[in-house]
């Protein structure tokens, strides 16, 4: 506990290039950008294979295989290939980490919608895109958001690896703290990462509450 007070109580840790606000911001930029890229890649693909059923097995198998990729190993590989200096080396492994849960959940969410419902939608005269956008996505939304939330938490926790390749973020505190045996700093970094992960979780709970229909979440009570 004292270590935490040592770290968070030190005014010097709250300003400058190695201050907490800037490190948190850097961390959020790495995580946010990676997540955004992963969503842009995985959601349309997941929707498409879930809706058409084409290539489903292949995509889901490779997505699950990708989960086995060691993030750190991939990071080192990307740095070796691309060199340091940009943030691209850290984005690639993080995107690779975030894509599988988003892709698999989006696909499973769409595919899992009751076939009777799909049938009714087509039977009413909805076109393919209207069925997807107007019925399947709203009904599958809780699962799709769950995939994003899982990915977001993993990415926030893993974005610490940026520090390994000389970039900023909260990983700086952990790596620098361990290297200089400044344990309050290392633990302070870890606590910040955990807090950030919790905040992300809360944010997604809020998004879910706003965007999922009460008819799907079952939230609205019978009056």
């Amino acid at each position: 506990m004292n270590w935490l007070i040592d770290f968070f109580g030190d005014a010097a840790n709250w300003s400058g290039p190695d201050g907490i606000p800037l490190r948190v911001l850097e961390h959020l930029v790495f995580a946010g950008l990676s997540l955004l890229l992963a969503v842009v890649l995985a959601v349309p693909l997941g929707l498409w294979i879930g809706h058409t059923g084409k290539g489903a097995v292949l995509v889901v198998l490779s997505a699950n295989a990708a989960r086995a990729l060691p993030t750190l190993g991939l990071l080192v590989l990307v740095v070796l290939l691309m060199g340091v200096g940009t943030i691209a080396p850290v984005l690639i492994p993080l995107v690779a980490l975030a894509v599988p849960p988003i892709l698999v959940n989006t696909y499973e969410g769409i595919r899992g919608v009751d076939p009777e419902l799909r049938d009714a939608a087509y039977g009413m005269g909805l076109r393919g895109r209207q069925v997807l956008g107007g019925v399947l996505v709203p009904v599958a939304l809780p699962l799709i958001l769950l995939g994003m939330r899982t990915a977001a938490i993993q990415v926030v926790a893993t974005a610490t690896v940026a520090a390994y390749v000389g970039l900023g973020g909260l990983g700086r505190y952990i790596i620098d703290g361990l290297a200089t045996k400044d344990y309050p700093r290392a633990i302070g970094g870890a606590v910040l990462v955990a807090a950030l992960a919790l905040a992300v979780q809360g944010l997604f709970a809020l998004v879910q509450r706003i965007s999922v229909s009460p008819g799907v979440s079952g939230r609205q009570r019978i009056r």
Partner: protein, 367 residues
């Protein structure tokens, strides 16, 4: 009118779901497709709105081959009701009903007003309009499904086992409701069921299909019961075919006796001497109160003090011979009390009268 012209559905693996089906579904009538599972009844229905396309033959909707119409456009002009209602869980009831009007580009206000009108029409409390489907019972959801199918006022309604997932009591009320609606709306309805009793109750015409998708018989229910085309149809119709047929024989032909009634205000002494074994006591409002046996009556007082035995009634001019027979079996006298539309006694159909009527039916079956 919907015309099936040599329609066949053969799947790539060689399975034949529908085999050379030719029949006509007349405008403004309910035509029921009935048969055991695997008889192609649902496939036949789904070929009308192109949920499935035939592999041979044509389906004409008022003379136009449906395969020449773009499926979504075709479907927006045909009401479709399925087994589990298939309501959109994320939309409120009113918006579910307004689905097709929205698709057709009606403005939101008009579409919702139309949806409210239909909810009322199918007998739903308008307070349900702002709820979500999961908050409704199965029977209520099915009513919403019917309202949704009717929203854009399509001339044709396709109903695929719409009532088979609800309990028997709710099913019976949904069936009554459909008949009542149809009397007002005169839609061309194709109704699929595996339940022959439902087919006979609802159908103006019933098409019995056999496994492999072949038409076994197409007839009105009374003819179907009286003259099944072959053993398959006979077996499918099941037991009690003779009794069930009586549902289609009007009870009007029954000879009634007017001299078997007695007012409740009458003195016992005025009745005791009658030769009749049973008399029906009529209340001051003209309604039946029950049967009395004159020979068992006490010595004095009025009939109001005498306990009356149970009775059954049938409505003359509305009920069938089957209802009359049922009424007779509910009375210790074996006679049925005939009442008018407002429940006033108009006479008694005796066992002899019922016997004559049954003999006429039996004669008809022989001829």
């Amino acid at each position: 009118m919907i015309t099936f012209d040599g329609v066949t559905k053969r799947y790539p693996d060689g399975t034949v779901a529908v085999d050379d089906l030719s029949l006509e579904v007349p405008t403004g009538e309910i035509t029921v497709f009935v048969g055991p599972s695997g008889c192609g009844k649902t496939t036949s229905l789904r070929m009308i709105n192109r949920m499935i396309d035939p592999s041979g033959g044509r389906i004409l909707l008022d003379g136009v081959d449906v395969t020449t119409i773009d499926p979504p456009t075709l479907r927006r002009g045909i009401g479709y009701v399925i087994q589990q209602a298939g309501l959109f869980p994320h939309r409120k009831i009113v918006d579910n009903v307004a689905t097709v009007p929205y698709l057709l580009g009606w403005d939101k206000k008009k579409a919702r007003a139309r949806a409210m009108e239909l909810l009322e029409r199918v007998g739903l409390d308008l307070r349900l309009a702002e709820r979500y489907p999961f908050q409704l019972s199965g029977g209520q959801q099915q009513r919403v499904g019917v309202a949704r199918a009717l929203a854009a006022d399509p001339p044709v309604l396709l109903m695929d086992e719409p009532f088979s997932a609800v309990d028997p009591i709710v099913r019976a009320s949904l069936q009554e409701e459909l008949l009542r609606l149809q009397a007002e709306l005169n839609k061309t309805i194709v109704f699929v069921t595996h339940d022959i009793d439902e087919a006979i109750k609802l159908g103006d015409r019933v098409a019995v299909l056999r496994v492999g998708g072949r038409l076994a018989q197409l007839a009105d229910p009374a003819t179907l019961l009286a003259e099944p085309a072959d053993d398959f149809v006979r077996e499918f119709l099941g037991r009690d075919r003779g009794i069930r047929r009586l549902s289609f024989v009007p009870g009007d032909g029954l000879r009634l006796r007017g001299d078997l009634t007695v007012p409740v205000s009458a003195e016992v002494s005025s009745v005791r001497g009658t030769a009749e074994a049973w008399l029906v006591v009529v209340g001051d409002d003209g309604g039946p109160l029950g049967w009395i046996a004159p020979k068992d009556l006490p010595d004095s007082g009025t009939l109001a003090e005498v306990p009356a035995a149970p009775y059954g009634t049938f409505v003359r001019g509305r009920d069938s011979l089957r209802s009359a027979l049922d009424a007779a079996l509910l009375s210790p006298s074996g006679n049925a009390v005939a009442v008018d539309g407002s429940g006033r006694v108009v006479g008694v159909a005796t066992r002899e009268a019922l016997d004559e009527a049954l003999a006429r039916v039996a004669d008809g079956a022989r001829g």
